[in-house]
């Protein structure tokens, strides 16, 4: 029995088709990433799963139960965390934890989570930093050891240390056999924790793939500046394309493994090399027949996922796996 089964889900807000015939299923024990740019329909799907909003049509089953009609029973097994945790300003973390324990009339593992996340439960929510607010949200979502964890961009705006702490906890949750449904537009995050991904765009599912398959489809863009002469044609080879020629370098698009580029570059004297992951939007455009790819790629270096490699790093190139 799948943990989540969504069939022909539609959600219209007037003339806006937020979700249009979305279908997917998530197996028990699986970590399923739900990918898409802002406004694609990730949060709307999650809100339908959580029964915060009612679908226009379609079926949602969680552990075989109708997520709308049997919502109360289903929620006994659910943990929910949004990327923007909003709780009661004047309650402390402890107040929130005790409130939920009384509400559900059962003990929780909140104390263990407090220790693991190094969280101070005696501070009022309004006085917590955004990272600590997210920690509290995570504690509240996990404290009853849910069989299914639904997370809507849980690491949005968090520092890498806290992101890693969250990934570690999710790893532990997965080992215990829980199912995790996580929406994100962070490709690296999805690669790090997910088994399988569903990609949504404009309210439609455009692909459901294993993470390996997504990695194969990964696209990088490299901006290379050379110290000496270089040949543009040398880079127009299989798996690589020259997107733009600069006065002292090139902007290259690489499909799949970047070792091909590194090997090729080792033949030249490099002044500067900057490699960035393609955005999800670019992957959509690349693989699902969109337009305007070049314009997207021009803006790529503005993104925070880029990696700057210096001459010293390039000296290590022979050691890289081919």
């Amino acid at each position: 029995m799948p943990a989540i089964e969504v069939q022909n889900l539609k959600k219209y807000f007037g003339k806006i088709h937020a979700l249009d015939d979305v279908s997917f299923s998530v197996d028990e024990g699986e970590v399923f990433g739900f990918l898409g740019p802002n406004g694609a329909g990730k949060t709307t799907t999650i809100r339908c799963l959580m029964n915060f909003i009612k679908p226009t049509s379609g079926d949602i089953k969680i552990f075989g139960l109708d997520a709308q009609k049997k919502s109360t029973i289903v929620k006994n097994h659910l943990g929910y965390l949004s990327g923007d945790v909003r709780l009661y300003d004047n309650w402390t973390g402890r107040d929130h934890i005790l409130f939920l324990e009384k509400l559900r009339k059962k003990r929780s593992i909140a104390r263990d989570l407090i220790v693991k996340l190094n969280f101070d439960p005696h501070i009022k929510f309004k006085n917590l930093s955004s990272g600590n607010k997210q920690k509290l949200g995570l504690i509240l979502a996990l404290m009853f050891e849910p069989k299914l964890m639904i997370m809507d961009e849980p690491t949005l705006g968090l520092d890498p240390l806290l992101q890693n702490a969250i990934y570690k906890i999710l790893d532990e949750l997965k080992k215990k056999g829980s199912t995790i449904f996580i929406s994100s537009h962070n490709l690296i995050e999805v690669e790090r924790i997910c088994d399988r991904v569903g990609i949504i765009k404009d309210g439609k599912i455009v692909a459901i793939e294993s993470i390996e398959s997504l990695i194969e489809k990964r696209i990088h863009t490299a901006r290379v500046r050379f110290n000496g002469q270089f040949s543009k044609d040398a880079f127009n080879i299989d798996g690589m394309e020259v997107q733009q020629e600069l006065s002292d370098g090139l902007i290259l698009g690489i499909h799949g493994n970047i070792n091909l580029l590194i090997k090729k570059l080792s033949e030249y004297d490099i002044k500067e090399l900057e490699i960035s992951h393609a955005s999800l939007e670019e992957i959509f455009l690349e693989y699902y027949g969109g337009v305007g790819r070049s314009a997207q790629k021009q803006n790529k270096f503005e993104e925070d996922k880029s990696v700057l490699i210096t001459q010293n790093d390039l000296n290590e190139v022979p050691k890289l796996k081919e």
Binding site: R47, M50, N51, F52, I53, K54, S71, T72, I73, V74, K75, N76, L78, G79, Y80, S82, D84, R86, L87, Y88, D89, N90, H96, F99, L100, K102, L103, R104, L140, A141
Partner: protein
């Protein structure tokens, strides 16, 4: 459900205390002033007789307005000051109870827990009702010890009747406000709509009192059925008052819970 009920009361305790203190404070002031007014009763009654009948009806002036404490409080406290404070309190709470949770996003924590929206609605509804009951008891029955303290003679039964009228009036207002709280996601809309309806009702009642051709408008106003003079001075509540207030409360509560259970909640 009880957890939400008690937690809500705990969170709103200070607001309740403020409303009770203000209401009892104003009541105290009027009871303290009453002996001075009573001394001037003959002159004031003469003055009242010169006012148009419609004006006296509209603002609940009675021939006993300055000769008995019941008449005095019905005119001075319970015809304007008390309803105004009560409306602020009830509409303010209703806005906070459901719409406030949606507006702040805290509703997501509630809705992700294993209980129905109907239970959440009733936990919030009953918490508000309990706080309103406390407010009514203090804001009306505090008159009894205050009258004793100032050596003012009074009819305790009449104050009990006033308590009942105050409660059913508040219940109807509260149910309307909770209905709007269950459908809106913006507190301002709850305040504006609920408050607006009551202001319109107040104006309709005044218009109906001062112009004969508009007299039927009074039936559309809660302030026609909420008659503190009748309750306090004559110890009576009209049957229509029970019917209108209780029926309004029932209809709006049922509609509120149905809509809240079915609506989309987006924060």
């Amino acid at each position: 459900m009880l957890t939400i009920f008690w937690r809500t009361i705990k969170d709103r305790r200070n607001v309740l205390i403020i409303y009770v203190l203000v209401s009892v404070g104003v009541l105290w002031m009027y009871i303290g002033l009453f002996p001075s007014f009573k001394e001037q009763a003959t002159n004031l009654e003469q003055l009242i007789k010169n006012y148009p009948e419609g004006f006296l009806k509209a603002f609940n002036f009675d021939i006993k307005s300055f000769t008995t404490i019941e008449g005095f409080l019905a005119t001075e406290q319970f015809s304007f000051m008390w309803p105004m404070l009560t409306l602020f309190m009830l509409i303010g709470y209703a806005g906070y109870a459901l719409t406030g949770e949606v507006e702040k996003g805290t509703i997501e924590l509630m809705l992700s827990q294993p209980f129905s929206r109907a239970k959440l609605f009733f936990a919030k509804y009953l918490a508000g009702l309990k706080m309103f009951s406390i407010y009514v008891i203090f804001s009306v029955l505090a008159a009894v010890p205050l009258c004793l303290a100032y050596n003012v003679s009074f009819h305790s039964k009449n104050f009990l009747t006033m308590t009942v009228l105050a409660f059913i009036f508040g219940l109807a207002v509260y149910s309307i406000a909770m209905f709007f709280s269950s459908i809106f996601s913006d507190k301002g809309k709850v305040f504006f709509t609920s408050g607006g309806i009551l202001v319109v009702m107040y104006i309709l009642n005044i218009l109906a009192s001062i112009k004969d051709s508009l007299s039927n408008l009074k039936y559309a106003s809660f302030f026609y059925y909420f008659n503190p003079s009748k309750a306090l001075v004559y110890n009576q509540i009209d049957h229509w008052s029970y019917l209108v207030f209780l029926l309004t409360a029932l209809i709006f509560t049922i509609l509120g819970v149905i809509i809240f259970s079915r609506r989309d909640v987006t924060t």
